[in-house]
């Protein structure tokens, strides 16, 4: 099993969610993050003084998946989150040793 962690542009979340649903993902978790990367931050003005703000608002998605699904899921995120412009973000695939469904105590694949 894997945990797929993606950092994406916030306004792409709906698209990514729809696309993940369509490949059969039944659950995912989302959080608000700020990202620093190649995409230039923006300038903010405060009291006439300008400041470079390095961090941009981004969205993090964590999806637990069975090994068999990894390619599909990564592909789905890739396609639906892409705008082609800088700052689209990254997807990382992390190994997972076990998963438990709290409600039932099911483990591994069955927990998904």
């Amino acid at each position: 099993m894997k945990m797929i962690v993606a950092f994406i542009k916030p306004f792409k979340l709906e698209d990514v969610k729809d696309s993940l649903k369509s490949v059969g993902v039944t659950g995912l978790t989302v959080s608000d993050i700020r990202g620093f990367g190649r995409q230039a931050g923006h300038t903010e003005v405060y009291r006439g003084a300008e400041y470079e703000v390095d961090f941009l608002p981004k969205t993090r998605i964590d999806v637990l998946v069975d090994d068999a699904m990894v390619g599909l899921v990564v592909g789905a995120i890739e396609k639906s989150a892409r705008t082609g412009s800088i700052g689209d973000g990254k997807i990382a695939v992390l190994p997972v040793e076990d998963i438990v469904r709290i409600r039932t105590g099911e483990r591994g694949k069955d927990a998904l």
């Binding site: 700020r34 923006h42 300038t43 903010e44 405060y46």
Partner: protein, 420 residues
């Protein structure tokens, strides 16, 4: 008549109350937009204060309340630059208060009217385009319509129709202009698909509280004196707001099973809008009906935008246009001469609503509504088209995605995290 310290105080206080409505409106609207464009919404409203003030001082007051220059259509330039308004002198149509107080009171109406429009164009209009639109609209739409219906020699007043505190001049005028503007501007990306949920309903409820509070100055202040008429306008205003909140919430409770705070807030505003033209011409019982009708009607009206496909973001059309028309016509139904004998300026026509036999008066109201609708829509549409052609009305797609706060104002509304 002499200046009355009591009347003067009441109108000065009312002026302050109406000014306070504009920040109130800004918060009311600001709470309803997404957090990435709330500052733009606040900014459009605060800036409107500045823009309209300078125009009003220069020529606006004179266009609206100067001696009629042409067929009840526009005032002359006698008061340009606010000449001759300082001191203890009164103007004839507000005989017990200093002229400067009347000028300031009416200025606050001139400010809030274009400010109302900003709710329709939320989250996508160029700030510069708003500045230009607001200035021109104030100059050639608001000032003229104010002259027609508020100045004693305006053609609407002379026709026999009435607008106690701004059903025609403020609400229909702003509402139909909002419609014209969004037709040119187009909908937000995602309109009809995404909910665009309000980012802070407590802010919206705070705004509602301020609006309700300030509206007492708006309506009861329009009596221009501290007397029984002001008292009547005050209590009818309050009753209509309360009942409209009830009406709206009850309607949605029936339809969706849940009463919402946004419904209660919107309903209250709808009631305040509808009672505005009526406040000093009707009694408490009529106010109940006007409030209930406004609440239910506007609740039904706000879903129209999804059916008809125009993105009136925060329902300026559904609330102000529909509520303003409803109020102005219900004035034609419920007005009672006995409640406001001084409302009668020329001794010719009675201000009696349809149910008291005043078919003529109802017709006059109807014509006045149509006239304001047509004029304001046409000029607003034209203005929008011209500005769009010259400098462009709309922010870029990229700016809309990032939010107008950061892209147009280089600011963020909130920094609640402890880190940058």
């Amino acid at each position: 008549m002499d200046i009355s310290a009591g009347d003067t105080t009441w109108v000065i206080v009312s002026t302050a109350l109406v000014l306070f409505m504009t920040p109130g409106l800004a918060l009311f609207y600001g709470g309803m937009v997404r957090s990435k464009s709330v500052l733009n919404m606040l900014m459009m409203n605060f800036f409107t204060i500045s823009i309209v003030t300078i125009i009003w001082v220069a020529v606006g007051f004179s266009f609206a309340f100067g001696k009629d220059a042409a067929g009840g259509f526009i005032g002359n330039l006698d008061f340009a630059g606010l000449k001759n308004i300082v001191g203890d002198k009164a103007l004839p149509n507000a005989a017990t208060i200093p002229a400067s107080v009347f000028v300031a009171f009416q200025l606050m109406f001139a400010i809030i009217t274009p400010a109302l429009i900003t709710g329709a164009i939320a989250e996508r209009m160029k700030f510069t385009a708003w500045v230009v639109f607001c200035a021109l609209w104030s100059l050639i739409v608001y000032n003229l319509v104010a002259h027609w219906a508020f100045a004693p020699d305006g053609w609407i007043v002379k026709s026999g129709a009435r607008d106690f505190a701004g059903g025609l001049v403020v609400h229909i005028n702003a509402g139909v202009a909002a419609l014209a503007l969004v037709l040119v501007l187009g909908p937000r990306k995602g309109f009809g698909r995404e909910p665009f949920r309000p980012h802070s309903l407590p802010l919206t409820l705070l705004g509602t509280g301020i609006l309700w509070f300030g509206w007492f100055g708006f309506n009861a202040g329009s009596a221009l004196a501290a007397n029984g008429l002001a008292g009547t306008a005050f209590i009818t205003t309050h009753i209509a707001a309360s009942l409209a909140a009830l009406g709206w919430t009850a309607a949605e409770w029936m339809k969706t099973g849940k009463p919402t705070t946004l419904g209660a807030a919107s309903g209250a505003v709808a009631g305040l809008v509808a009672i505005t033209p009526c406040a000093g011409f009707v009694g408490p019982m009529a106010a109940i009906v006007i409030g209930l009708v406004a609440g239910v009607l506007c609740f039904l009206a706000v879903s129209l935008k999804f059916k008809l496909g125009y993105d009136d973001s925060l329902d300026v059309v559904g609330v102000h246009l529909v509520g303003g028309i409803a109020g102005s016509l219900m004035l034609g139904i419920f007005a009672q001469n006995s409640i406001n004998p001084a409302g009668l300026l020329d001794g010719e026509k009675q201000i009696e609503g349809l149910i008291y036999g005043g078919a003529e008066f109802f017709k006059d109201q109807f014509i006045a509504v149509l006239a304001v609708l047509a004029f304001s829509f046409a000029v607003s549409f034209l203005l929008a088209k011209v500005i769009d052609a010259v400098i462009g009305l709309r922010a870029t797609e990229e700016q809309e995605h990032s939010g107008l706060d950061i892209s147009l104002h280089e600011e963020r509304a909130y920094a609640l995290s402890e880190v940058a």
